[in-house]
Symmetry: D2
Subunit: 383 residues, 4 copies
Amino acid sequence: MDFRGYSNVDLRRKALEKELRVKLSHIGNYSFDAKLASTKNCENMIGAVQIPLGVAGPLKLKSGELPVRNYYIPLATTEGALVASVNRGCKAICESNGANVYSYRVGATRGPVFYTGNLKNERKLYKWVKVNEDKIKKIAEKTSKHLKFKKLKFAGLGNYAFIRFSFDTGDAMGMNMATIAAQAITELIEKETGIKSLSLAGNYDVDKKASWMNFINHRGIKAWAEVVLSEKILKEILKIDSEKLFDVWLAKCMIGSAMSGSLGFNAHFANVIAAFYIATGQDPAHVVEGSLGITTMKVMPDKSLYTSVYLPSLMLGIIGGGTGLSTQKEAINLLKLDKKRSVLELAEVVAGSVLAGEISLLSSLAENSLVKAHKKFGRGENL
Amino acid sequence: MDFRGYSNVDLRRKALEKELRVKLSHIGNYSFDAKLASTKNCENMIGAVQIPLGVAGPLKLKSGELPVRNYYIPLATTEGALVASVNRGCKAICESNGANVYSYRVGATRGPVFYTGNLKNERKLYKWVKVNEDKIKKIAEKTSKHLKFKKLKFAGLGNYAFIRFSFDTGDAMGMNMATIAAQAITELIEKETGIKSLSLAGNYDVDKKASWMNFINHRGIKAWAEVVLSEKILKEILKIDSEKLFDVWLAKCMIGSAMSGSLGFNAHFANVIAAFYIATGQDPAHVVEGSLGITTMKVMPDKSLYTSVYLPSLMLGIIGGGTGLSTQKEAINLLKLDKKRSVLELAEVVAGSVLAGEISLLSSLAENSLVKAHKKFGRGENL
Amino acid sequence: MDFRGYSNVDLRRKALEKELRVKLSHIGNYSFDAKLASTKNCENMIGAVQIPLGVAGPLKLKSGELPVRNYYIPLATTEGALVASVNRGCKAICESNGANVYSYRVGATRGPVFYTGNLKNERKLYKWVKVNEDKIKKIAEKTSKHLKFKKLKFAGLGNYAFIRFSFDTGDAMGMNMATIAAQAITELIEKETGIKSLSLAGNYDVDKKASWMNFINHRGIKAWAEVVLSEKILKEILKIDSEKLFDVWLAKCMIGSAMSGSLGFNAHFANVIAAFYIATGQDPAHVVEGSLGITTMKVMPDKSLYTSVYLPSLMLGIIGGGTGLSTQKEAINLLKLDKKRSVLELAEVVAGSVLAGEISLLSSLAENSLVKAHKKFGRGENL
Amino acid sequence: MDFRGYSNVDLRRKALEKELRVKLSHIGNYSFDAKLASTKNCENMIGAVQIPLGVAGPLKLKSGELPVRNYYIPLATTEGALVASVNRGCKAICESNGANVYSYRVGATRGPVFYTGNLKNERKLYKWVKVNEDKIKKIAEKTSKHLKFKKLKFAGLGNYAFIRFSFDTGDAMGMNMATIAAQAITELIEKETGIKSLSLAGNYDVDKKASWMNFINHRGIKAWAEVVLSEKILKEILKIDSEKLFDVWLAKCMIGSAMSGSLGFNAHFANVIAAFYIATGQDPAHVVEGSLGITTMKVMPDKSLYTSVYLPSLMLGIIGGGTGLSTQKEAINLLKLDKKRSVLELAEVVAGSVLAGEISLLSSLAENSLVKAHKKFGRGENL
């Protein structure tokens, strides 16, 4: 069957049910605007998948730029124990008077690969780009009033040259805006230098691949969160002491990650990032770079534990993509973000949530209660 | 508020609505068994998030172990143009008489880090493990009748030792089973050697981190897909010729990925993997290792194009986790998997779908129509 | 025995001979100024090791900034077949009218890790550094009249902050200069911010480790070389055709390197770099980052082959370190470097030599004559 | 000039002196057998480069398989302060009653890439290899009586397949032996399967590139060393306490290395490896993989410091390559290796020396005396 022959979601689903002799009645149960979604979010739409949504929190965060706030964290997940784990971390953070969070916008990146043919042209292109950054900025910013050009990184070798443009894309995650701006710049460069691009996206950007580029030079928004957990909170809420927790962190997140050639020096950033991204309508393929990062710990002289998370590459938005869908919009509303800080605040909530997740899982591992927790939260039945 | 005080999903959601003065009516619209889901999949549940579900296909696959089959591919996504792109790739594959697919089960991995204290104990532990692999197998397999022990990898340094156990977990993705089995083995080792584990999961496993371990030594299921696209199909369906497509692949997926220190030598595995995983109830945090891999291309003497994808680390299941939820179960049913091959067949469908996505996106990039496609499929409005 | 009790090299060696009852007469045969060397290059000196020195060339290079030049390449090696292989590559380059070379000084890098204690201090440090770059430049440049401050890269996480300073160190490789400048800057920062450094070198610099930092953001001098080999030269000198050579390059240097998680997408940069570094008195531990890089190839319409090498991280000098020793100085003199370009020219000679080595080895592999060559050049006897 | 026209080293050097109007008299001063060296080690030979040779030690090592031994460590280096630094580490180790060392032979690796053309052939090749491992072993071992086949690792994707063979090459580093054996196996495979290899070395081996393959799956010989330094020794010899040293290690070797995407989680393995390899006639390009590895530290309850090094990839020999040259042979003789353990003992000495280097440099950094040390040992003059 050719799906494009069907004028709406329900007809298409029904045709598929008939062709395959299957029931898709749950998939047919959705409440967003199907016409809009099938235009903007998903072609050949036949309905929707439902992902259970849980809430962790309150999570107390101090951003330095906003009053102290409590957040309820929306997490869409099918993996039992995750919400409970983050929730426990939130409690430990709350009772520690909150976590400090911070964020910095690096910018959405996109950029082409050019076929220069030889080093002489590569040098010519490099010089043109260096001299004409203002022109590049101007043409990029003409493509959208919401986009600002931030910077570029150039790399040439042999018969190729790569450029990585960084853009401030405001409240949007911005890959579409960035792509359109990159296209305009690329056309300008082609016209003025005569050197042709091979592809508007050259994997030097680099989008949705685990990469050291994004780890080292960052992408989207960088975010940090930290908290000091007192000996009492460690004992009462997390059933652990700081030294044991530190030992597990060092052995697992540092040495274990080094031994396995990992780009994640952490316990489970990806779990929290994935659940948060799906809940709030982010692009879930950005979990790949979003889950890069490092957890740190230090035992303080009073046996309290300093712990922090660092996330170098969060691609986030509150408009565009999946954020406009009805359930996702409601999930974002739960956060009651400040209008002025919006995406940066969102990134800080992500960092705080990831911190909560790290504290809790590492404590479970140190205390050797992981299996117990999973059994309690029902995953045992799967066996 | 303390979410655990509420006995059911609706009361909990309503309390949150009241506390935060927000409306969560769409989130309250779901059709799965809330009681079961809130026990097995998600704590503090307040409802569900809806992700638009599209279908690409038919996708014609030849696995060598099954008759040639056409599949309809369920993709849950909020990113416009993705389903259309995969669909175009499916068409090119179909008209090329289908893609060859293959898969191999490496096994779900889990494993502890031990604190040996010194090299002497590390050697002692190593020797015990080498000699007692049968014992390890036996105790692991006692934990579940669905689990088979496959192998282990041991690494010690200084005062630590890491083990990575691999298990065949049948129709389940298997991380819970693997964790429980690893726990049993670890307790046995502790008892027999007197050497204690620090953490049941030591990041040498390694779960949900981008890592060279999983790229090089694999995890879950490895899968491959390949197709030869004739000159005619390239021109008519993909609007491109083989040499141009090859040039883009080489510049982007090989050289661009090398230049950015990527573990993904491909165009956009992560997009297809994420949409497929969410649609079929897989753990979306496994997109991190699932999106590792390499696309290859070669121009043949008759100007046709050989192209393939290689996915070394797919963590997949058809029971357990999110696969039992009503919409996800319907999405899996769309695939009409053979009972006997089940998860391996699922992995092959993933590989075929990823191949379709690679063919289509790389063609768009080579033909310079990416922006056009995104505008057509409605993402332009977001700007 | 305590070596420091001996006032000169010969007494020390003789004492060791006596203590261990061994003969070290060859080690005692050296011709450099022992007093100077034992002060500047090597403590507890007992003599010297002799490394056979061969010469490859002439190698014809066009740098764009200098007249076309022929170079004789000094290579100190104990591995038979290497000089012969580079020599064959030089011949192919010469008969192709020379290779184009280019270089760019990124700067020697060094930098501390600070213990900030928390994110607030990390932000404070970051702001101080951003605002006071002029002050940093001034204090750095006071430490040596040969050093220029170029830029810095800052990264903070949790309770740590890292800075990577880049310096132009003129004709010297410059790690000592860079270290002393970094020390001065670090003391200034400590004084003005009250935040203490933990270590003057924080592995974010990063020195003598294979790292993506140096691959992506470069270190020392970046260099490139390229040549187009005609069908005739390929056939007559390299016994191969362009398509076969390209196929081997793609399979080995691109796909093979991706499959093994390599930072070297090349055939054997390290061999040439090591031999050249030892011959010319460079620090041989810098082979680690010096051997990073990518070889590219492309078959041209006339069946000629475009090939290039890219070396992102060459740490080189013509004064300081081992360059002042008598044999090393003679080896550098062989190159007859232009006084004005000096180290940049040296980097370009390295790039050209590495290109010669790549062309030749990849041809041997493609033609399947590697074993033959090694047997011919005498390594077979070792078996 | 064509170097091959000259029948001996001195004539060749003189011709070059004349052509370039330079003096190469120091290069002409060597004492090894020029005829042999120019056949086995270096083509186009014109003489030798002299590298200052220092000695550190005694270094007390306990291998568990041999009586406790003191070693004098030969280090060929041009970088002032290195020998002194290792020497200080040796002293700290000696006074701590020696370091425990251990080693394990993984085997020299070499292996081809095949062009399979498609997945069907790739499967065919895989099956042939699995079934015929005995045959492979037999043909490999026919090529040299010193070589034993150990294992193989196979990886196929798309139209390529890679194999990595591991061989025990006895007292030789063994790359030549391994290459010849790999050639024989490859010819057998080609004959029996009809599938052709593209290159005898496919970068899946992987030789002389920094790679996660060699880090994770090892190469040559793996080696470990550990020592516990008492509070007194730390204070008196290293001028530091265990907590400060630990803090520097954690910040630099763990977190700093993670932040820079390094494959070396250590302070300066490469310095010691390079100096030792050059002194003892190893292939200096093997510094690339030899310098991979991890240093660990742990503060013990009595304020002593446990510290260890782990080196996963040492390619070492005591016959073949540069080990037969007169000065290198004398340097090896210094070690008075046990005939039976030979290369394993050599690897353990490397590990112990590297440990000494780590202890000393990290102490200098922690105590902030690096610049002082470098100035004292004369490098300051270079500024």
